[in-house]
Symmetry: C2
Subunit: 391 residues, 2 copies
């Protein structure tokens, strides 16, 4: 039995994780479930899976959670401290699936406790990659990625041949605007941008897919997860989202991972690693698909991926600022305060401001992360109206 | 330094092997080079690579070889016994690249000696798979495939998750006739059939690619190389020959190996395994390729793959007979004595005759292989004119 803690149990990744566990009750024992405010779901899952402990991040909901689990013997707790303690309980694997910067401290707590981490939180690597991976290395903690692209790379990356990897290529769906007239890109509305052909995702991630900033962030993650330089990282547009990423070796051999777009495959991969377990997903049928296509990313249409690679080369906190500015930019776009093309421009201008103002530097501790993150948000908020006013 | 013996040194695989070794003189020491009648090439290679021994299979050429290597200190030998002794000298790896049934005994000699075998000879698995793999298992010998499809599977097959493999899919170029009018397929001439779009191969292999019998033979090889049943083996047409094969797992994940069609990549993979070394080949460029397409194999147009899978289920010697009958059939076709569509029909009829005549059975020793092989050849020769006479 593998003991499992899920941070972000009631979110999309958390629920898919529980769906896999549901099919393998003989392999996994749920230790801690951590959620935010969805107490009914949290309690129902804790009961169904016989969790040892249920934790809500919201201190005010402790009584509600207690009532919902009365008589079950399941331990309950609430608040930030309880979340960190829950993450640090010794288990075989922690699924780190809290969304956003809020996931950073709990995931780091799991790492500090020496728990193997299945990483679904982007910010650990994008906002704090330098710090996060240093701590994981120091603690001897294996980080198993859950994101479909990084899971693909993880499955294709021969650890003993790391120095023989020539190139890592991430695939990008290209989003809804890869063929749209370039001149009209600035007119894109939030409604248009929120339609995504392949994956069912939240609004923020869907906009990131439309600007290809998601690919920029994933390039940053790949940089931290694998022993490669920024120059060895690349992305191509692959509209069908079947090939999830590729690893090329010095002998001319390229390994790729393919599958239908269903997060339960990379989740099952991470949960079972280094073994594999059955997942209730549709199987790949190449004949039914017929063809897989690949296109270069036009840097004029989609400047985000190269911006992210450039940020990686600048400093440890440059991608923290990039990520913070992007969140502000996407929010401004969704609220009609910024043009679609303004999203990446705002991130770029925020990074340039950080360089001018001497803010760029390395990440020694979490304070450095918070400072860079606040700077990015504040500066992007200041710059957004200026950018929007420009014709 | 890895010591290396090459059986079939002057053939296409042998020469490509030496080309890889040429780029890695610091990693490989050539022990024995074995060739047939191309004494000048054998001697030149033995000199260039400082081989310890050069062997020709042709007893009458010993003096010629001796003269060509006079004063070099390189040992020389000739004849079948010398070939077997050369194969059995203890080395780190034997590249088994003698073409045809002639490769069986020398490769088996390498296995019996406990040498790791890089296997490029098809007949070891197609004609003698049951016997060959049993001896390799008993001797604890690792067989590393060299054929591009099996190298792809080898790279994607997680040995510790062998029981979690759901399906192995081989790719087939489809040859020149995948879109030809089905009614006119029997009119195909040898000249038409000898044009192959992607790989540069000999006549026999090119015809096998046109009938897809090559894929049938490769399915047989895959069956012996990997712990899967015949029902888990499949093939699809992929005209670009970029995806060399795929392995699908129970979690919905499919791993694939891609690369330009250049045998030096799988050769470098095999030579360096479990490491990887640089190969001087063109790199994969998905954007330049643009698209990869996949089609089902029409069993009416291409009955060979399912015939081979059916033979696997019949008996250990059924694929020996299949392979022998196919060689006779291809020869008859190339000489204008058999229609193109008659090739696979002749193989089918030979197998049916074997069943009727009680010839099918298992392979206990090499005599069983020779008997089945002779039966297949003799019976196919008898049946060819009968089949050709039918309208």
């Amino acid at each position: 039995m593998k003991t499992l803690t899920i941070l972000g149990a009631t979110g999309s990744i958390g629920q898919s994780t529980l769906d896999i566990v549901r099919h393998h009750r003989d392999r996994f024992a749920v230790d801690v479930l951590v959620a935010n405010a969805n107490i009914m779901q949290l309690a129902a899952d804790a009961r169904e899976f016989g969790a040892r402990m249920a934790v809500t991040a919201d201190e005010d909901r402790l009584e509600e959670l207690r009532d919902a689990l009365a008589g079950t013997g399941i331990e309950t707790a609430a608040g930030e401290k309880a979340v960190l303690e829950g993450a640090a309980r010794p288990v075989d694997m922690v699924m780190a699936a809290i969304v956003g910067v809020a996931g950073l401290k709990p995931t780091l707590a799991a790492v500090e406790a020496g728990n193997t981490v299945a990483l679904a939180n982007k910010e650990c690597l994008v906002s704090a990659g330098e710090l996060f991976m240093r701590r994981a290395d120091e603690r001897g903690v294996q980080v198993v990625p859950v994101d479909s692209e990084h899971s693909a790379i993880f499955q294709c990356f021969e650890r003993h041949n790391g120095a023989r990897v020539e190139r890592i290529t991430l695939t990008a769906s290209g989003g809804p605007f890869r063929e749209r007239d370039l001149q009209s890109l600035h007119e894109v509305t939030p409604e248009e941008a929120l339609k995504h052909p392949n994956w069912d995702m939240g609004a923020k991630v869907t906009i990131d897919s439309a600007t290809l900033m998601n690919k920029g962030l994933e390039l940053v993650e790949a940089y931290h997860l694998y022993p490669v330089s920024a120059d060895q990282l690349d992305a191509v547009i692959h509209p069908q989202s079947i090939v999830h990423s590729l690893v090329s070796y010095v002998d001319g051999s390229t390994l790729a991972q393919l599958g239908m777009p269903d997060m339960r495959t990379p989740i099952a991969c991470a949960l079972a690693w280094p073994e594999r377990i059955e997942a209730p997903v549709e199987r790949l049928d190449l004949v039914a698909l017929g063809r897989l296509t690949f296109e270069a990313i036009d840097p004029q249409r989609f400047p985000a991926p190269s911006l992210a690679l450039a940020a990686l080369k600048r400093s440890g906190n440059a991608t923290t600022i990039l990520n913070a500015a992007n969140e502000v930019a996407v929010e401004a776009f969704l609220q009609g305060r910024l043009r679609f093309t303004g999203i990446v421009s705002l991130v770029m201008e925020t990074l340039d401001a950080a360089e001018r103002e001497g803010v760029l530097g390395s990440l020694s501790d979490l304070d450095d992360v918070w400072q860079a993150d606040s700077y990015g948000r504040r500066r992007a908020r200041e710059l957004a109206p200026v950018l929007q006013a420009q014709v």
